[in-house]
């Protein structure tokens, strides 16, 4: 089947050269596909990625795990790529590929030597236009996903903290963030083939996707190829976004979870935080850094080093489109009581709420975030994924260059305010994550 294609470009955004800036070109195709191009000819490498605005939070109740399941299913083959051939085609052209799923989006990418750019575009257009979704593929991937769950979560120490399956059910009541990305096996087992097909038709359309091409490319030629392969893909209905407001947590939630793969317990304080687009989410990232990033961070220095009550301290902000979670926690050293760890963590939080961080700590944060910013743009594959994420989830592709300005503009006073606003005792989960008792 051959087709002649006419197309028109809307050039949204072109940033111009500036030292260390990630230049990019962004436009939409007529079918709604958002396209971002980033040219960097220093190494003969190109990444082609497609991000779809569908994640675990878009799943129907009783059908958890669908979004992640697609991440597997859509490697099974297309009308022109036989089942089992996807990976061979990529490998035979010297490329590598992968995909990942979050609560908010699903991302597929291939990285090739730059002479295989057209191949990468063809493959991604095949996946968007007409993947084969059949019983054999569903059955096989169903087993593989079960193994993935076992190896990542069920057989892995602290797996249900790392993947939030032991946390999110407490943090969200109405919002689908309460479910895990990998879903439940019962739901996947119960799903019919037609449901998978319907899910694809609903979410896997060009108007719900962003195509990113980064690396050793020629921009006009690349635009032409993109038009050739993607313009003819029909657009779908507009996707209705999840719009659920959670009531604030008013009373402290106390919970205990057990893990048979661990011997040292963990205690964690978990707070619900705003959307990652929110300025306050950036402030929380800085708070996280103050508390646990590096050996001179407050919690590490005090709990691991000085008081010797913790084997390890941890903090991570899980940034998401609608709400996030922020977790701080510690593993006790020896027989230290978990309540002792909580008391000390509380004292450190209280300090943030009552005193400004020092000028030197503030400067340290600035240096750390600048270092992070420089390093985040160090590989073509990384730049591609960041561009798509900023476009799709933040609505501002140029954040790849501007995000550092947000951090630079955050003040010490803001850090104190946000610590007061979000890190209140009555708004949190106190989780004791314990070794499974054995008889």
């Amino acid at each position: 089947m051959t087709k002649t294609i006419m197309l028109s470009f809307f050039v949204f955004f072109i940033t111009l050269a500036h030292a260390q800036k990630v230049e990019f070109t962004e436009y939409d195709l007529d079918n709604g596909l958002n396209v971002i191009l980033h040219q960097d000819n220093t190494a003969p490498v190109v990444t082609v990625g497609v991000m779809y605005h569908v994640g675990a939070k878009d799943e129907q109740p009783g059908r958890t795990g669908f979004a992640h399941f697609f991440e597997h299913l859509l490697f099974e083959g297309t009308e022109n790529i036989e089942r089992g051939e996807w990976f061979n085609v990529v490998a035979a052209n010297g490329g590598s590929n992968n995909a990942n799923t979050t609560q908010d989006r699903t991302y597929y990418y291939e990285t090739f030597p730059s002479n295989a750019l057209e191949l990468g575009l063809w493959m991604e257009s095949e996946r968007m236009l007409h993947p084969v979704i059949n019983k054999i593929g569903v059955d096989t991937q169903n087993e593989v996903v079960k193994e993935e769950k076992r190896s990542r979560i069920d057989n892995a120490p602290y797996g249900r903290v790392a993947y939030s399956t032991g946390i999110n059910p407490y943090m969200f009541d109405k919002h689908p963030y309460k479910n895990s990305v990998i879903g439940t096996m019962e739901d996947l087992d119960a799903a019919e083939l037609d449901e998978f097909k319907a899910f694809f038709d609903k979410y896997y359309n060009p108007n719900n996707a962003t195509l990113v091409v980064a690396g050793d490319i020629d921009v006009p030629k690349t635009k032409k190829m993109i038009a050739d392969y993607f313009q003819s893909i029909p657009s779908g209905d507009e996707v209705e976004r999840v719009n659920i407001t959670e009531d604030p947590i008013k009373d402290k939630i106390i919970a205990t979870e057990y893990d048979s793969n661990i011997q040292i317990p963990l205690t964690a304080l978990v707070y619900r935080t705003p959307s990652m687009k929110d300025r306050e989410a950036y402030v929380l990232n800085m708070i996280s850094s103050v508390l646990t990033d590096g050996k001179s961070s407050r919690m590490y220095k005090r709990m691991v080093d000085e008081d010797k009550i913790a084997l390890q301290v941890l903090a991570f902000a899980r940034s998401q489109e609608d709400y996030g979670t922020y977790l701080i926690g510690a593993l006790p050293l020896g027989d230290v009581e978990l309540s002792k760890l909580r008391d000390v963590m509380d004292e450190e939080i209280e300090k943030l709420q009552t005193e400004l961080i020092t000028e030197r700590e503030y400067q340290k944060l600035q240096n750390k975030f600048e270092n992070q910013f420089v390093n985040s743009n160090s590989s073509i594959q990384g730049i591609a994924s960041s561009l798509a994420t900023y476009q799709m989830l933040y609505g501002n592709t140029n954040l790849i260059n501007e995000e550092i300005e947000i951090y630079r503009s955050i003040t010490r006073e803001e850090i104190k305010e946000v610590a007061n606003k979000y890190l209140q005792e009555n708004q949190r989960l106190e989780l004791d994550y314990l070794p499974e008792p054995t008889e």
């Binding site: 089992g84 095949e126 087993e143 593989v144 193994e147 190829m225 392969y229 011997q263 590096g294």
Partner: protein, 686 residues
């Protein structure tokens, strides 16, 4: 001196770009990109430190890594090197720990130390200071007793915490079994070995091995050679020249025969399987490239034999991979996979199948070509990172490679033939000396593992504990579900054979059956009464071979003209055992001990006495077996009577097949006749 090698990857036809596309045709790649492998700038210091500098100003950052390429050595107290690593950076002769760490953090830099290495990275504007800090931490450490105790404590806690991690335990056992427990690669760090370490041990290892003789410093990033030289002289110029002690590494012994090495992890939901054998292969060997390609096809990528079989075809796993290491000292072939418990044995079989396939079948020519292209692509992509140039130059130096090793890398890959693949597969995948290391849930996987056959023989299963010591086969108990008791097991048994009402109407019972033993036809008669009397008769052609009688109080065994009264213990056992449907009441000594498998069927185990255990199907409730242990001439003999082929007889389910195992023999008794309340008289029990 800077040389640039131009390198053409794989020459392929370019397609002209037209407005018309035919998406049923896979696009052909354009002309291969030209790749330049640069060469780093190098210089040495008089203390022996060799420095490599790769300038790349794409991003305003610089990184440095110090690598001391000493020969590995066996630790007297395993864990000492780990302690050196964790104590470096905890303060120096000049700077206290807090101040030291605070400054690194303040600069937004990363500095880390190993027992024979150090690395640092930062924004270029802070790099001169960061190098000073790295050198200070590495060369002027202050090992204090306080930090020593604290780090030791943390190391031991960390070791404890991984005791339930299936992957950790599998890796530990596999290294020890490959290389031997006194080999640097086979030693493992245990809580006990760390406990014995004192501060002096740490200081000695540091003093002996953290020396510049075999050291390389690699600097990559936004920096010129001139700047680098100035900084390195200032920071590492005073490092005192010294040579590490000479040590010898124990020889590696291959496994004597192919075996399964099992370690029980009762918490496992997946088995970690590591199939391995040691190999003698160095990067400089001519076989290096054929082995690289062979492994890529067997298990080096997603599309490999192993992954396509175990993941994509069978859905056993999230991923199966293999690797063949190359080393100056010792290395091994490893195929590893994590699979759900139920398919552990099948996964082992499939791994062997794929290993045999690459050893015996010629690899498809197209597949070989595609694999070569993958190497070409990866080679190009690695060059995206400026550090690659440095690591190539370093490898040439330390691995004794030819100067043009990387320039001709792809030529050598392309020269590999189908015959080469088969040849190196046979040479390096030693299917007669393979260890199949498995960490998994014994109660669910071992029974089938013991049945695996390979090359017409059952693979022996050896058992190990988590500390890599060989042990007797452990008893694998399955966990009992909540709420199950002797009473509930008995209730479901009575229900399964017909229910209390039906069973209660039976006062006595007679069963007659036949069996063939060594060509002779034997007949069996068994009579039981409600009040605990029992008769068992074995006859041949109407002649009695043996007779057992118990009248409720006393009993005897008669055979070959001899009559022996029951011992006290036998009477005790018989009182509990004899009678009809004894499960209607629970005896005081009955105890539910667990779940075990009878011919693959899970059964609740009820221990009646020290010598008698009975097995009831978890699934159907029916009694599957009675196991008795008797002492004969000081030896314990265990035999099982198995009940099968349950059939409805007047409303009661009766086993019509009794199988008695006697040592290696099994006697199958087929029941021909069953009578209730008929054919039993008091004289039967005299």
């Amino acid at each position: 001196m800077k040389k640039i090698f131009a390198l053409l990857i794989v020459c392929l036809v370019s397609t002209s770009i037209t407005a018309q596309i035919d998406r049923s045709q896979m696009p052909k790649p354009g002309p291969a990109p030209t790749v330049n492998i640069g060469e780093p700038e190098t210089f040495s210091l008089s203390n022996g430190l060799k420095v490599l500098v790769v300038e790349n100003d794409k991003l305003p950052r610089v990184s440095a890594s110090l690598i001391i390429d000493n020969k590995p050595f066996t630790e007297k107290k395993p864990g000492t090197q780990a302690m050196v690593a964790s104590l470096l950076g905890t303060g120096t002769e000049k700077t206290g720990k807090d101040e030291f760490n605070e400054e690194i953090d303040f600069l937004g830099a990363n500095i880390s130390f190993g027992s024979e290495s150090a690395s640092a990275s930062s924004l270029s504007k802070f790099f001169p200071r960061v190098m000073e800090l790295m050198a200070e931490g590495a060369l002027m450490p202050k090992f204090t007793e306080e930090e020593f105790e604290s780090e030791k404590n943390k190391l031991m806690e960390g070791l404890k915490s991984s005791q339930k991690d299936v992957g950790t335990i599998a890796n530990r056992l596999s290294s020890t079994l490959s290389y031997g427990s006194n080999h640097p690669y086979g030693q493992y760090v245990s809580v006990e070995s760390v406990e014995g370490i004192v501060l002096e041990d740490v200081k000695n290892v540091y003093k002996n091995y953290f020396v510049p003789e075999n050291a390389y410093l690699v600097i990559v990033g936004d920096i010129t050679k001139k700047e680098a030289k100035k900084i390195v002289k200032k920071t590492f110029g005073d490092w005192k020249k010294a040579t590490p002690p000479s040590t010898s590494i124990p020889a590696v012994k291959p496994a004597q025969y192919t075996q399964i090495d099992f370690v029980d992890m009762p918490n496992a939901v997946q088995s970690e399987i590591i199939v391995q054998n040691t190999v003698d292969l160095k990067t400089a060997d001519p076989d290096y490239f054929p082995v690289l390609v062979m492994n890529q096809i067997l298990g080096g990528s997603f599309g490999s034999y192993l992954n396509m079989n175990l993941r994509e075809d069978k859905g056993y796993t999230y991923g199966a991979r293999s690797n063949v290491g190359a080393s100056r000292y010792a290395s091994r072939f490893v195929a590893s996979v994590g699979v759900r418990n139920a398919v552990t044995d099948s996964a082992v079989v499939e791994i062997f199948k794929e290993v045999d396939r690459i050893r015996n079948e010629e690899v498809d020519a197209g597949k070989l070509e595609d694999t070569k292209k993958k190497f070409a692509g990866s080679f190009v992509m690695r060059l995206e990172q400026p550090s690659t140039v440095a690591s190539y130059a370093l490898n040439i130096e330390i691995e004794n490679l030819s100067k043009d090793f990387y320039e001709t890398y792809l030529e050598k890959i392309n020269a590999v033939t189908q015959e080469d693949i088969k040849r190196v597969a046979n040479k390096y995948l030693k299917t007669d000396q393979m260890q199949v290391v498995i960490a998994g849930k014994g109660s669910e996987v071992v029974e089938n593992l013991e049945k695996i056959e390979y090359k017409g023989k059952t693979i022996p299963v050896l058992y190990f504990n988590k500390e890599t010591k060989k042990v007797e086969k452990p008893e694998f108990k399955k966990e009992l579900p909540e709420g199950v008791t002797v009473t509930s097991v008995y209730d479901s048994y009575i229900k399964a054979i017909g229910g209390n009402d039906v069973v209660s109407k039976v006062d006595n019972m007679m069963m007659k059956g036949n069996a063939s033993v060594q060509g002779m036809s034997l007949s069996f008669t068994r009579k039981l009464t409600k009040d605990g009397k029992m008769l068992e008769l074995v006859q041949m052609n109407g002649n009695t071979l043996s007779k057992q009688v118990f009248d409720g109080e006393k009993g005897f065994t008669a055979a070959q003209g001899q009559k022996m009264d029951y011992t006290e213990q036998q009477v005790k056992d018989a009182k509990i055992m004899s009678g009809l449907f004894t499960e209607q009441k629970v005896s005081d000594s009955a105890e539910l001990t667990g779940i075990e498998s009878i011919n693959g069927e899970d059964a609740y185990v009820i221990k009646l006495t020290d010598n008698v255990r009975e097995f009831y199907s978890v699934d159907t409730g029916l009694k599957l077996a009675t196991e008795t242990t008797a002492e004969q001439m000081g030896q314990k003999m265990t035999s099982k009577l198995m009940y099968g082929d349950y059939t409805d007889k007047n409303g009661v389910m009766v086993p019509m097949m009794l199988s008695q195992d006697l040592g290696p023999q099994t006697i199958d008794i087929k029941i021909e006749e069953v009578k209730f309340n008929d054919g039993v008289t008091a004289s039967d029990f005299e």
